[in-house]
């Protein structure tokens, strides 16, 4: 079983196709399950260029499937390898695109680093295209750091610059900026988790979220608050606010996150635990985390 994770810098559509199409068609020629998870409009571009062979490829718009970067490993990549357990697979995954919100970038880079840990036990070959002209140099500097190999001039090369994934994750573990506007706040403990759910529900309803999304936010806040009580050993506080486009709920409590795989790997069916953050990662439009020896802060975003 071998796992491979190639970075790939492209400057225009021609270079994009020259890198991704041979990778995809070679996978199809080998009879492998193939997944393309890239943002539109390049998703349709690849579908068109694959022609009749596109019928054998799974397509996902990364703008939706990967809108929360911490969703990609469990619910896109590992979901695909687990669906095809025992078979080698090929994946083109483009998690960062020009125009992606700056607040999403640290989580995206952490995600790219953690792929190397979370997917190490899979037989997947993953190619990650990066728009070298459209992305900020501050993003591009992490491509070699998070990919053990690079696709250059049609060849996979070990280029150097790859760094310990957990060191990269730590580098991007930074305090979150304070909200600009007013916030509502409530404390919670093991017997008052309902207060956290009530605050999330009130904020979500006031923002006019659809009833299903109100439920999703309450569920997610409840699970993070539950983790705080279970792993942090005490209660914490929830803050909620509206930023003009999203409802944001922040759960703050004692305890440091030391296992960065939490919320990224599905536990075995027999396990009674380990699904709370996994679910929040699936339901929320963005999950941000800052953890330190004294406390952990998790922000859950649901857009209106």
């Amino acid at each position: 079983m071998t796992f491979a994770h190639h970075g790939f810098l492209y400057r225009d559509v021609g270079e994009y196709l020259a890198g991704t199409l041979p990778f995809l068609t070679a996978g199809l020629d080998l009879g492998r399950p193939v997944l393309v998870a890239v943002p539109q409009p390049r998703l349709d571009l690849l579908r068109d260029r694959l022609g009749a062979r596109a019928a054998r490829v799974r397509f996902l718009d990364m703008r939706e499937a990967g809108r929360n970067p911490h969703r990609i490993i469990p619910w896109v990549l590992r979901a695909f390898t687990e669906e095809h357990a025992g078979r080698p697979v090929r994946i083109v995954g483009e998690p960062i695109w020009p125009g992606r919100a700056p607040e999403e970038i640290p989580g995206c880079v952490q995600h790219e680093a953690l792929i190397n840990v979370a997917m190490a036990d899979t037989d997947a070959e993953v190619l990650c295209p990066y728009d070298a002209d459209g992305l900020h140099p501050g993003v591009l500097m992490y491509v070699r750091r998070t990919h053990p190999t690079m696709l250059e001039d049609g060849e996979v090369r070990t280029t150097g610059g790859y760094a310990d994934p957990l060191a990269t994750v730590a580098l991007l573990n930074q305090p979150l900026p304070e909200p600009a506007g007013p916030v509502d706040e409530v404390g919670f403990g093991v017997d008052t988790l309902g207060a956290a759910r009530a605050l999330a529900g009130a904020q979500a309803r006031a923002a006019g979220l659809a009833p299903e999304r109100v439920v999703d936010l309450q569920l997610s806040v409840n699970e993070i608050a539950t983790n705080t009580v279970e792993h942090g050993g005490a209660g914490g506080t929830v803050r909620a606010w509206w930023d003009g486009g999203r409802v944001i709920c922040e759960v703050r409590g004692p305890g440091e996150i030391t296992d960065w795989m939490a919320g990224r790997i599905r536990p075995p069916d027999s396990s009674p635990r380990g699904r709370g953050l996994l679910l929040a990662n699936r339901l929320c439009d963005l999950v941000q985390t800052y953890t330190s020896p004294s406390s952990t802060v998790t922000r859950l975003h649901i857009r209106a």
Partner: protein, 103 residues
């Protein structure tokens, strides 16, 4: 069968199963686990959930595990579950065959 304080979870025996009244979260997990451990595996298990105000992922995990402990061919039948229960099951387990929902 068992009760906790306000915001707690009360579980009542009904014909063929249990009625859950209140909230199933970390604060009441032990109450739910105890009740589910005591149900027979030889018959379908009916849960009356119209008065369940909330259930978390851990609670749903306990229900799915209880369904898995039933004898072959027996099912867990959920009556009037709250919306988050179905959301959790659909996302995490994709509605197992051993679980039937009556809304």
């Amino acid at each position: 069968m068992a009760t906790t304080g306000s915001g707690g979870l009360r579980i009542e025996s009904i014909g063929g199963g249990l009625r859950l009244v209140g909230v199933a979260d970390l604060g009441t997990r032990a109450v739910l686990d105890r009740a589910l451990a005591g149900v027979p595996a030889t018959a379908d298990l009916h849960l009356e959930l119209a008065q369940l105000a909330f259930i978390d992922v851990g609670g749903v995990t306990a229900l799915v595990a209880a369904a898995g402990r039933l004898d072959a061919g027996r099912r867990l039948v959920l009556h009037d579950p709250p919306p988050e229960l179905l959301r959790i099951i659909d996302v995490m387990w994709g509605r197992p065959r051993t679980i039937e929902v009556h809304s």
